[in-house]
Symmetry: C2
Subunit: 253 residues, 2 copies
């Protein structure tokens, strides 16, 4: 089974990491639109246009399923992608909300959703959370975390000041990490809230969804991975070699 | 005289502000490539490709001169733009270095150049500074300042932590603000260095260059301004109305 993973840039590798760790496919084709990253501050119409262009790329590979790792794409372009594809297209928003529910959180729990301006502005997480009975929702665009992660800052004063900037006086019971970059600072986020909040990670959520809802089973062999980018594929491969080294435990990249 | 001003996004409005304040043209046509912003982390080849596409847009307006407000474009695509244009194309790098020289700084002065990865990585400022006799150069990519300004953070703990992150233990005599966003935090940068460093602002530098080198004279009337963006032109106009309100002193936008 061949899966396509689409992301606006390199961040979607956090989702690939989860897929690799659980061995969910035989082959993964990753495309990052690095020439036009980030999508997060962009318009719905632009995100739809770029997403449909990326989907054409995946049609070359005869994929069995397309996973949109990018929350901004999942929030704005999922219907358009679905209506233009002959294969299932899975976003990260529904899996994220289902993963939250599977943690058995009380409906009165306060849920903090963080993401890009596009993701939060779409209201998609908020709507789906309400449909699942969660009404105590805080939704907050936290766009600075993206360039901070891209600067490879995972701890220290800049990150601490930014956590304080966004989270001052919040005490959520659970946090949906609604952007592919955020799992890379999940330890700092968890620490900020004294490890008292449940964290939902899109990669883990999508694995749960693929296993439970679509019945996709783990392979014995680590999936093969092909990486593509709209600019600087070498940089994508370098980052993948670094981020995914534990998932592969070899030098396969 | 009609000038085109090209930028990767909204930041180039800081250059427009200087042009308006000095009344240097009759008409200014601004184009921000907001659908593909930022250029700063992108490849030379991508920046050239996007810049040449933007230049085609300006050909519709019969401009007499094109100013590339974006330092990343000025660093990587200026030759390509020049060889594809029948009008002069002016970047911000040469004016910046000339403005520094006009401040009468001793050749032994330590010059700190800050900008995006693309601008600093190109080595263009460094090369030109050395050609003008400045050999004590520190060049530093400070990409986080861009999203911080876009979050409208102009002071406070996040900015202070980031200033400390980039500038800890530096004591430059002059700083070239090699990105259109940086003039918006120039007060914080000046404060960080106890107002002891000379700051060079691309907008002011280009005005100096246009007046001294090209003999362009001030008009009595504030230039008219037309704003275009590759996505969300309304947002560009809103930001312009805010940033340029002093330059216009009216509600002309």
């Amino acid at each position: 089974m061949r899966a396509g993973v689409f992301d606006s840039g390199v961040g979607g590798l956090t989702v690939v990491k989860s897929l690799l760790e659980h061995g969910l496919f035989d082959e993964i084709i990753y495309f990052g639109d690095t020439a036009r990253v980030p999508y997060g501050p962009k318009d719905k119409n632009t995100i739809i246009r770029y997403s449909l262009e990326a989907q054409e790329f995946f049609k070359n590979f005869d994929v069995d399923i397309l996973i949109t790792a990018c929350n901004s794409v999942s929030a704005h372009a999922i219907e358009e992608l679905r209506s233009n594809a002959s294969f299932p297209v899975i976003g990260v928003i529904e899996p994220g909300v289902l993963a939250l529910q599977n943690r058995g959180l009380d409906p009165k729990s306060q849920i903090l959703v963080i993401g890009t301006q596009a993701t939060i502005g779409s209201g998609k997480y908020q709507k789906l959370l309400r449909e699942h009975g969660y009404n105590n929702i805080l939704a907050k665009a936290t766009p600075l975390f993206v360039p901070i992660v891209e600067e490879e800052i995972f701890e220290g004063p800049v990150l601490e000041a930014t956590l304080q900037h966004y989270f001052d006086s919040l005490h959520p019971d659970a946090i949906i990490l609604g952007c592919t970059h955020f799992p890379l600072i999940q330890d700092a986020i968890a620490d900020y809230f004294n490890n008292e909040a449940v964290l939902i990670h899109s990669g883990e959520a999508i694995v749960e969804h693929l296993q439970k809802e679509l019945g996709i089973k783990a392979r014995k062999k680590t999936p093969s991975l092909k990486l593509f980018a709209s600019e600087n594929p070498e940089k994508l491969k370098k980052i993948a070699a670094h981020w995914l080294r534990d998932a592969f435990k070899t030098n396969e990249l």
